[in-house]
């Protein structure tokens, strides 16, 4: 844990944080809304007191109620991993600004998050599916994804998913979605 980093983040982004800066083990976590994401990430990358030059990971998360995009950064200014959670994206239309202007390499990670969660990264010039076939309709890592419903139309039809056994046949999708407050 690096309390100095926490103080720096609170001083710099104070009113933009949508939750407290949390620290555990070797991780520091901050949460912001989608509207601030572009500016905050640029500041973390450019400003010498942060200088997070290495984008370690970019992941989509479906909490069952909202969508998140989670970035992990490494920087020489701190021994911690920095986790930036862009929180509170609506599940029916999740949109965040793309970071491909800073890290060209994020392009495929954003394509993956789009493919798996349907998150739209505004500014990514090649946002198309990367793993699933082009005619695929749904987003497989979403919590309301059941194979019985939508994969029957896909070329992989006929494969029964273990998740299907968990879902009662007549349950509404909203009743069976696994949720977390994370």
């Amino acid at each position: 844990m690096d309390p100095a980093l926490r103080r720096r983040i609170e001083r710099r982004f104070g009113e933009r944080l949508s939750g407290p800066v949390r620290q555990r083990h070797d991780e520091t976590e901050l949460r912001i809304g989608a509207g601030d994401a572009g500016e905050v990430i640029r500041a973390l990358h450019d400003e010498p007191e942060f200088a997070f030059t290495f984008l370690a990971d970019l992941a989509g998360v479906d909490t069952g109620t909202t969508m998140q995009v989670v970035y992990h950064f490494w920087g020489a200014s701190t021994p911690d991993w920095l986790r930036l959670v862009v929180d509170g994206l609506p599940r029916d239309d999740p949109r965040v600004p793309s970071v491909t202007a800073l890290w060209k390499g994020a392009e495929w990670m954003e394509r993956e998050a789009y493919d798996m969660f349907g998150i739209i990264f505004e500014g990514n010039r090649d946002l198309r599916r990367i793993y699933m076939p082009a005619d695929y309709q749904s987003f497989p890592l979403r919590k309301d994804f059941y194979l019985a419903d939508d994969a029957a139309r896909s070329p992989g039809a006929g494969v029964r998913h273990m998740e299907q056994t968990h879902a009662p046949r007549n349950a509404t999708p909203a009743a069976t979605v696994r949720r977390t407050r994370a």
Binding site: W108, M109, E163
Partner: protein, 409 residues
Amino acid sequence: MTAPTGTRGRASSDDPRVMLDEQIGVFEPIPPYPPRTEREAEFYTLRDGEMFINIGPQHPSTHGVLRIVLKIDGENVVDLDPVLGYLHRGVEKLCENADYHQAICYLDPLEYVSSLFCEWPGVMAFEKLLDVEVPRRAEYIRVLSSELNRVASHALFMGWMALDLGGLTPILWSFIERDEIVEMLAALTGQRMLFNYFRIGGVNGDLNHEFLSRLGDWMGRATAQIESNTALLNENEIFVRRMRGLGTMDSETALRMCMSGPNLRATGVPFDLRRAHPYSVFPELEFDIPTRTEGDCLARYLVRLDEIKQSLRIIDQCLNEMPDGPVMAKLPRLLRPRPGRAYAGIEGPRGQYAAYVVSDGTDQPFRMRIHDPSYLHLQSVGLLMPGHLIADAMAVMASLDPIMGGVDK
């Protein structure tokens, strides 16, 4: 007299008497749907003199099941579009439906040439969620076995690299090393490739006699043997002159492309998570971080060679300083971590392997994100290949060393 006809309705397509009115077995590179993005539209529009050529999905130099659509002008690559997903198994979704112990065995087949490095970040992230203290002996065994795996992976890389350039001999030589190491690890873990050896809180079994005696034998001759293997390539003028200056990348571009591992170090950035973000017992071990500044194929190859030597140093220290004690922490059989999030990254033979786990308090991970360096390195192929000949483009790809199991998850 009539020609004998088969009982099947259709004549075989290699029967010379049969005239086919449609081509069969030829993969049409242009997708049968309208372009989805600007970039796709731009790529699938041909200018004068250009044509498409498919490489893969079944092609030896794609290191797995990968299809690359090349746009070529004569023999020069103009642009390319990798098509992924042929190996996509949905490991992340599988892990969300398995409990924490079961999830480990889904991580193994991600990178089938260096499985221990795929297990490690997952296991480490679970341990962080559970606040488990791993016994020191287990940490040393992890470092020892994974460094062996790193040597095996780099040995295979050297062979593959030469094979993609048209040299058959080195792969036979490097398999001598690799085979000895995987047999050794099989004695330790019970499996040659998909080890499933790391457990939450330790490792599956303590060091045994067969492993140690094999390792002792091998360590005695490893340095000499690796030297002789490398002499086969390093002193080969065709190999060196072909690799030098090919697929050059500078350090800023490499960072912008999110590269890590030997490919980043070959551009002069001494970034190694074992030093940059120390984990396990690496702070106690002595080793150097080999870097090169050229950033070309030869540099990427030589960085890996130097890394083998550093790995041997680490293995030596592990054997000398191996502490006594248990190899597993005491843990309940059913694990229910408190709701929370954990991220763990390690330095593998290809770069940063990482896992991000979200727990919702049940015995299954709520979200398991697996980060694999091959994915990002394959992406930068699109930057490195254009302008090269097709044959050189394959060499560029081999020098980045992507493994399709990890790319496709």
